[in-house]
Structures are given as C-alpha cells and as structure tokens.
Amino acid sequence: MASLWTLQLHAASLPRCYSSTHLEFRAEVGGFCSGFRKWNRNKFVDGKFVLRALSDPWNVDEEHKRIDDQNEVIIKANVARGVKSQNPLIKLQHTVASLPPVIFLKKKHFSISFAAGLCAVAMLLIVVLRSYLARKSRNSRPGSVADLVRRGQLRSDRRGISTPLKYEDPFNNPMVKVGKSNSTVEMCGKLYRLAPVTLTKEQQAIHQKRRSHAYQWKRPKVFLKEGDSVPSDVDPDTVRWIPANHPFATTASDIDEDLAQHNVYQKHGVPFRIQAEHEALQRKLESLQNEQKLGKLVIDHGAAKDFERPFKSHLKSEDQVEQSSSNSQMSPKHTNSDSAQNSYLNRPASDEMQKP
C-alpha cells in the first residue's frame, strides 16, 4: 500500500511533458492491474494531470475523477473504508503539491540515482547478511562435524586428511617421478640428483669383523641388583648389574606403601631407601677397594706399568699440575710458565723411568 502512495505522489509531481509511455511504465512498476494502467493513459491524453490518492487500488473503477484546466490537482478520493485516514492523506498531498516544481524536479533526479544506489547497497547488504547467516547456521547445525569439533568430540586438525591417499606405490606416483636417465628423481616438486650406493658385501663383512673385535659382548643372562651375590653356575660376563638408582631398581615392588608408612628404620629424617642405597654403594666401594688392594698384591708393578703407561703419566702430569698450582698459590712468584716448564721437564724423566 505504501508503495502505491509513493507512486501516486510521484506521478503527481511529473510535469506535463512526460510521455504517456513513461507513465505507463511507472504504472507497470507499481504492479497494478491493466485497468488502472489504461485509466492512467487515458487521463493523460486529455492533457490533464491527475493525482489520485487511493487507499484501495482495486476500487479504481468505482471512483470518479475531476480535472481542472489550471493544472491544479484536485483530489477526490472516495474511500469506502478508513474515513479517518483521509484527512492526513489529503494534507500530505497538498504539501507535496505546494512544493516548488524546480526543487521538486531536482529532488526527483536525485531520488532516482539515490534509489538505485540504495537498492544496490541494500542488495549487497542482503547478500552479505544471507551468506553470513548461512555460514552461521551451517556452523551451529547440531550434529555436524563443526559442532563435534566445537564440543571436543572430534579433533579439527584431523579433518580433511582422514581419507586415504590416492596412490599405493611410494616409488611411482604423482609426487615421485624418476628422471628419464635414472640419475635424477623429483620428489614433492624438488629435483634431486641420485648417486649410486657403493657398499659391497666385502665391505660389510669387514665392518662386521671390526665390530666383533671391538665389541666383545655377551648377552646378560642374569640381572642382579647391587648387593646380590653372583650364583656360582653363572658366567660373570653374563651378569648385568642394575645400579641402585636405576628406575627398574627403584620401582621394584619390595618397598611397598605399607613399608614406607611403618618404616622403623627411618631415622633423623633420612628415608630408608636412600640410606639403603647409600649403604649399598658404600659396601660396593669398600669391596672394590679391597679388590684393588688384593690386585696390587698380586700384580707385578713393573709389568703393570707397561700397560698403564699413558694413564700413569697422565696422572703424574696432573699431580704435577696440582703441585704447581698449590705452589703458585703458596708462592705467587711461581708463574704458570714455570709450572709448565716443570711439567715439560718432568715428563721425559717419568717416561724414562717407566721404560723397562
């Protein structure tokens, strides 16, 4: 209904020079029935311009029109219903008619382009809004993948990669292409040069032999914790000693929660396990020291020096360095160069001494 009013008012504002076709067009735009269009044209042929304020377009035939020669718009609306709404309408039309024609013309031109622009903007806005709403509704669709991702049921980063790859052969597929001369290969868009492998069976055998010499190893048959005694029927080389601080040893189930709670051996805030470890280490250290003493008793010193020469000399030179450092601490006159010289001088002597 509102559009009808607008159209009618616009038609009223048109000057006389407007062609009938224009009017007809406008009438068509209004979407009226053909009878109304005909009526419009007929009225214009007479050289009169009529503005009609209609509340109901379907009652056109029932209405009567009056046109005066002074181009004054006479409005007579015969509306069956809504008598109260007539007065403001007439007022409105009067005000429109009273507007100066030039300004009105200008306004008309402006309004056409403005309306076109407005339509375009509105259409754009609608498109954007619709797409936004569509996207929003797609995301919020319950049970969809996006919904599952949002609820944490599905991992979003796995989407799109769960389908199997289209090829089965990793050597011959669109991502891997071997060059015609077999000297290049293209993988993932990068071209690589190929070099032949030169390892022979003989070389492999040589390496195996080298390793078998270098790493004398027997598979451990028995795993013992520190403190355990070696069974008599077991080869000592096949015993693997698990250190007390090894996770396997510390998580051993011989210390359970009950024992931890009622640990009578815990004294002065030292946990039993740590104390036990300490004692075990102490025992081991002592036993090692005893073994060394025994070894020293047995092994001839002269023969031992042959094997331990570099080790011993290294120790000695360290001693020398320590001595020199202590000397330098005690007497600042000794410089580093002196100590270095000392060690340098001492080294041949020690070497000579160690030589048989």
């Binding site: 011959n172 597929n173 991502m175 292409k177 032949p196 070389q203």
Partner: protein, 328 residues
Amino acid sequence: MMISLQPLTNPKPSTLNPHNPFYFPSHRPKTLKTPLLKPFFPIQSVLQYNRKPQLAGETPRVVVITSGKGGVGKTTTTANVGLSLARLGFSVVAIDADVGLRNLDLLLGLENRVNYTVVEVLNGDCRLDQALVRDKRWSNFELLCISKPRSKLPLGFGGKALIWVVEALKDRQEGPPDFILIDCPAGIDAGFITAITPANEAVLVTTPDITSLRDADRVTGLLECDGIRDIKMIVNRVRTDMIKGEDMMSVLDVQEMLGLALLGVIPEDSEVIRSTNRGYPLVLNKPPTLAGLAFEQAAWRLVEQDSMQAVMVEEEPKKRGWFSFFGG
C-alpha cells in the same frame, strides 16, 4: 581398495633392471596398461593400484627399531613405518618396549585408548587382545604397550616376558601378524636387551652426526653379538643443502662408516614435528610430504627385504621453461 584390486596384482616379485644400478627404477611396477600404451617408452609416473610389495621372509617378522642414541627418531620411524605397512595391507603389531618413557601411543594419537598393558596381561588382569589397541584409521595396525607410565615395573619383566608376548601374538586366533615392530628404548641398558631379545632383524636409526654414529656402531656390534645379522639402517634428518655445503656428512659417508645396508633416507621435514604434535603419523598426511614418502619407501623396502641402490645427494635447480623470464 587394494584388496579389491588384488586379482590384478603382478605375482612376480620385482626384479632389478640390469641396465640400471639405481633403486627407484627397480621398483617400477609392471602395470597392465604400460605396455599397451607405449611399449618402448616406460611411463615414469602413473597411478598404481595393481601392485603390492611382495612379503619376503617368514611371518611374523619381528623387527626391532633401535638406535642407541636418544632423540634420533626411533619412535617416529616405528609409527610411520608401522602405519605404512598397514596401509600396504599387512597386519602390524607395534610394541612400545620403551618402558619408562613410552611415546609411541602419543605419536599415533592413541594415548586415550590404552587401558591395559602387557603388565596387566602378565598379572592375569586382562587378556592379550584387550591390551592390543587397534588403530581406527587402519584396522590392521595394533599397538601394545608394556606398562603404564608411572606404574611400578616389576624387575621380572625382561626378554623372556617379551618372547612370551611375541609367541602369544603368533598363537592368537586371528592368526599371526605379518610384522611385529618393537620400539626400542635409547641406551644399551636392560630395556635395550629386553627389546632386542625376540627380534630376528633390526632397523638401526641414525642421524648423520658423529655422536649418533658412534652409538649406532656400538649398538650394531651388540646386535651382531646377540645373533641378529639382518641389520639395515635408516638415516634420519638428512639435509641435502647442508650436505652440499659440506656441513653435514652425506648418507654415503654414513654408510661408509657403519657398513650397513640402507633401508631409507629420511630428509629433515618440519612436518614431522607437526604430525607428532597432532598425533597423526606423517605417512597419512594428504598431500604427502617429503619425509612421509621416504618413510613409505622404507616400509616398502622392509617388506621386500630390499635396500637402497641409490641415494638422493643434492637438490638440483629445476630446469626453467621458455617463459621463466616472465615468471612462468
């Protein structure tokens, strides 16, 4: 898809081309269409659906993946090779023998599904099939963890227990798996000895640096002392640009030092870290990445008990076209 195309499978195992010393062409599958289309000009890249690697050796093949040094990519290799094998249609059980510091479940994204472990099986709290975690992406891949983190591990769990687990896997109702991959812990302690006990073959993972190489050599020596003769190596985190600038040992240098057959060369790839963080192994990535392809190739060679005959040494600049001047 692969199973449905099995009738097309070429029954012959791949044979080496006598004119070609390199590895890649040796695996060029014999498609049915290739001879029809161009009999004298081999097509270099065609989509292959009709070939599956020929499984060599006795099943189940018990493979331990070890390195000696930590952080070189044992677990990553286990996850990616294992899933590649599963993709190729083989049934795989991956055992995370890294008892104290297990990570394989994280890499596979199965951390929330580990309810039972081998320790519970040994204690009689559950059955073995309950402890096997089946991957939903590839249902012929299963994960088996030894113990839960932070749980007390009895000292009794050793090589014998792992041998029992392998035997139980062989005897289960569904039939033995084709591959049992054992992810070995770092070091050469009791965990290492336990992990290598049931293995028949080993994959040694190393990086091209001297620390890793020394440990790898030692571990190889221990494996050979223990009677594992079939040892192949994967050189991980290779950077061809650094090798070209002589800042990194080349793969051939590594091979010369260790004297082991090459199972694969994995280039350094930032996708590895991303896939680790996501719990989605690299080989399932789409589009495939460089490292993922290399892992797949390594898995293929593992199946066929093959080794690399040629390695990628450096990156060549791509040939520019006529319109390269214009940015084409």
